[in-house]
């Protein structure tokens, strides 16, 4: 469904992503793990069209989306939940969700009801300004917001960041539910343990290039990965 082939991204003179290739098949949860600064978010931003690759191609549903504007990419069914939550703080919960459905024409009520069913907390706070929500609620809101566009592939950038362990578990359970309902997932995480435990396949990014890849289970069991990323 998504095929990233040999992308190279630069921040000025800094070669941030060096020939990264990865693939997400329909129905999969794929995770991209790695240390701080390895370039995980950069890869997602490039796929979303916020950054441009100098080489290679990004194929989504048989179309090269490399040169598409990011709002066009969303229309194709590829949504990203950005790092650090980034809800619209001064808008209400409901307005935030409406923005998620910006590219859709016609009635969005059905989708909104589904999102509220998925995240009952958001329904309670629907009229509240998003800036007044707790961190966990904001994370639910950004996920709900991304779902409003009916994505075929959902990319999540560190959804566990800054959340209490119990909330992290909740968020990961929701990711699995979404996947069972038919959304393919590309998950970027620093919490490698959690990410690998739910992933079908995984890639390990080290200073801008893919160091290891394999199934989630293979990586959890690999000695090197355990030492480097799973704390022993």
């Amino acid at each position: 469904m998504l095929k990233v082939d040999n992308i190279n991204v630069y921040y000025g003179a800094i070669h941030a992503i060096k020939g990264v290739s990865l693939e997400v098949n329909e129905g999969e949860i794929v995770t991209l793990i790695g240390a701080n600064g390895a370039g995980k978010s950069t890869v997602l931003k490039t796929i979303s069209g916020l950054l441009r690759s100098k080489t290679g191609e990004i194929i989504f549903l048989d179309e090269n989306i490399c040169s598409l504007a990011s709002h066009k990419i969303v229309e194709r069914g590829l949504a990203q939940v950005p790092e650090g939550r980034r809800v619209f703080l001064q808008m209400t919960v409901q307005e935030n969700l409406e923005m998620g459905a910006y590219t859709r024409r016609g009635n969005i009520k059905g989708t909104m009801e589904k999102v509220y069913a998925q995240f009952p907390r958001l329904l309670e706070r629907r009229k509240q300004v998003a800036g007044t929500l707790s961190g966990g609620e904001q994370q639910m809101l950004v996920m709900g917001r991304a779902l409003m566009s009916h994505p075929k592939l959902l990319m999540l950038d560190e959804p566990s960041m800054g959340l209490a362990p119990i909330l992290v578990e909740q968020i990961f359970a929701i990711i699995q539910t979404l996947n069972k309902e038919g959304t393919s997932i590309l998950l970027v995480e620093q919490n490698a343990q959690m990410a690998l435990s739910i992933a079908d396949r995984a890639y390990v990014l080290e200073t801008g290039s893919i160091a290891v890849s394999g199934t989630g289970r293979e990586l959890i069991e690999s000695d090197n990965i355990r030492k480097a990323y799973l704390g022993g």
Partner: protein, 293 residues
């Protein structure tokens, strides 16, 4: 009675400032830049209306509409040519560009229409309404100006609060990156903002020159600066702030002129601004910016 008539002319002048200030504040909200050419768009709007109605004898309504259309185009073109290439440049570069555009418009106007002042005739005539047995006389243009301001305020509140485009504008002013990920085209949204601001500038130009009928290439600059002050006064980026700031500024100016000194009235206006900013640096309704780490 004189107090009442000062009050009404203050609100009326303030309404013009408010309409101009809305353009400043909306553009600032979305692109975080001070569009100092905004005042000169007002002047262009007034000239277009002047030629349409007094040279080509179009009805006043057509003149106003033509001014709005041409100013809308002008505003969007200015943004595309002058500001868009600087989207990621330092804010000082954008500010200097805006000042440059302002001078460009003034000088182009001088070249096209000379610097001789034109006498603008009010688009609604010079009639007035007499109340209290003739003791209080309110000019029709003052009533029209205040009414226009109220209608614009209601329309903008509805637009930003209820429509998809208006909400997208608010989303863009908060976080352009996240807005892009929602599928909002940031460039298009910024263009729409400039279009609305410039159309309002055209209305303000016509109303301003209907009340103060001297039209010159520099006509827009002083009201432009005062409206900018009004926007800062009310809290830049805030639409109700621009309205309140504009009206208060008009009142301070007229009462200052009436009761303190005609010559010092502008000084009083800016002194009040300085005091307000000392007490509340974000302006009356300004939002505190929360930096989340």
């Amino acid at each position: 009675m004189t107090f009442l008539s000062y009050l009404i002319s203050g609100i009326s002048l303030g309404s013009v400032y408010a309409i101009i200030a809305l353009g400043y504040t909306m553009v600032y909200g979305i692109s975080k830049m001070l569009n100092f050419a905004h005042g000169d768009v007002i002047m262009v709007g007034a000239y277009v209306c002047f030629f349409a109605t007094f040279r080509w004898n179009l009805p006043p309504v057509a003149g106003v509409l033509l001014a709005m259309v041409l100013c809308t185009i002008l505003g969007v073109v200015i943004e595309r040519l002058a500001y868009k290439p600087l989207r990621s440049a330092a804010s000082l570069a954008v500010l200097i560009t805006a000042i440059g555009v302002s001078y460009f418009l003034q000088n182009a106007a001088q070249l096209l229409w000379t610097s001789n002042p034109k006498v603008f005739t009010s688009v609604v005539g010079n009639g007035s309404v007499k109340l209290f047995g003739g003791q209080l006389s309110i000019s029709v243009i003052a009533i029209v100006t205040i009414a226009a301001c109220i209608i614009i305020m209601i329309a903008l509140t509805w637009f930003t609060g209820m429509t998809k485009m208006g909400k997208a504008m608010r989303a863009c002013s908060e976080d352009k990156g996240a807005a892009q990920l929602m599928g909002i085209s940031v460039n298009f949204t910024i263009s729409v903002t400039f279009a609305i601001g410039s159309a309002l500038a055209a209305i303000a130009g016509v109303l301003l020159c209907s009340a103060y009928p001297t039209l010159m290439p520099t006509t827009g600059s002083m009201p432009g600066i005062k409206a900018f002050t009004a926007a800062v006064f009310g809290g830049i980026g805030s639409i109700p702030g621009a309205m309140i700031g504009g009206i208060l500024l008009g009142l301070i100016e007229i009462f200052g002129k009436a009761y303190i000194s005609t010559q010092l009235s502008d000084a009083i206006v800016f002194a009040v601004l300085i005091i307000v900013l000392l007490v509340k640096p974000t302006g009356l309704l300004g939002k505190q910016v929360h930096e989340k780490v």
